[in-house]
Symmetry: C2
Subunit: 189 residues, 2 copies
């Protein structure tokens, strides 16, 4: 049931269509939650039925009409209640970790390539986060921003994303150097 709360949290920043949310929750770009469009459309239906959000149809000229959702009072208070509940413990769940755990019985070259692809993605995400950060700060220093804004949530989640990707890069570097050392030992020139 976290998706619905993620949707409500996203709607705090203003109304959005299913399509908008799908972009925001896309794995490649998401900064605090991910989901597929299919899951979203299904969940939005339910949430509307339960009165947590409300839809407004916006007629467009050269585009299909869209349904734009916003939080209801009920949704807002459900979200408030959610922040009071204890957070579930999380752990990383990553395909890549399974591959690495099995690297000794697997194909080290292929795994190496995956790690490098991952690092490339991490760099792209960091760049993206940096752009979002600029937009948030809007010329101000971090201190100024934090003093002035009454909307600190997006900053905190962005920070987590940044740290996470930095950690990925740090780890990737070590993994590559360890795998290389082993490859060199096994197939000495």
């Amino acid at each position: 049931m976290a998706l619905r709360h993620a949707v409500m949290a996203a709607l705090l920043e203003g109304e959005a269509s299913g399509y908008d949310l799908a972009k925001r929750f896309d794995t490649a770009t998401a900064d605090f939650w991910t989901s597929t469009p299919q899951q979203l459309y299904r969940e939005l239906e339910r949430m509307e039925g339960e009165g947590l959000i409300r839809a407004r149809v916006v007629e467009q000229e050269r585009r299909p009409n869209k349904r734009v959702f916003s939080l209801t009072e009920e949704g807002r208070s459900a979200l408030h209640a959610f922040t009071r509940r204890p957070a579930k413990p999380t752990a990383i769940r990553d395909d890549m970790l399974v591959k690495l755990q099995a690297v000794d019985a697997g194909d080290p070259e292929a795994v190496r390539t995956s790690v490098m692809e991952r690092m490339e993605r991490a760099r792209a995400k960091l760049a993206r986060y940096e752009r979002i950060r600029e937009r948030l700060l809007n010329g101000r220093s971090e201190e100024e921003y934090l003093r002035e804004t009454d909307h600190v949530g997006p900053y905190l989640t962005l920070l987590r994303g940044r740290y996470f990707e930095e950690e990925n890069l740090r780890w990737g570097d070590e993994v590559l150097s360890i795998l290389d050392a082993r490859a060199a030992r096994r197939a000495p020139r």
Copy 2:
């Protein structure tokens, strides 16, 4: 389909019962994959049916009998093939991020408490990882270990766990200080 690969990767280190795997994949302790016992028992059944693993019944005296699983040749080659496939992109998916995204419309005090609990868990996990590391190194330096072992997977995943929890702590510190500064401003003594 990653659970089955995680199971196979775990079985590389020797045979295990469903119960053993359940402990290893428990969220509180897992170092490279998580799942509930229920999911495991279901998946083990299927995997046995598909010939990826094989069960051996161990009769015990003062304990219930157990079924101990090991990798078959088929399983081993499926695992090898898995390491050759590209890794799916991942992103953090964490309840806590949703709470923080919504903290401005929520209950900052409660969120603060959750963050502190998380940090406590992170410290516990770090301590646990440290113990596992000692056991792996077994008196040797990292360099020696890496030179001597032919089983580098567990070391690499452990490293990721450590970095991840360190990142959690670093982030938690920043979050707390930002939330505190805001609380002080809103309710000046």
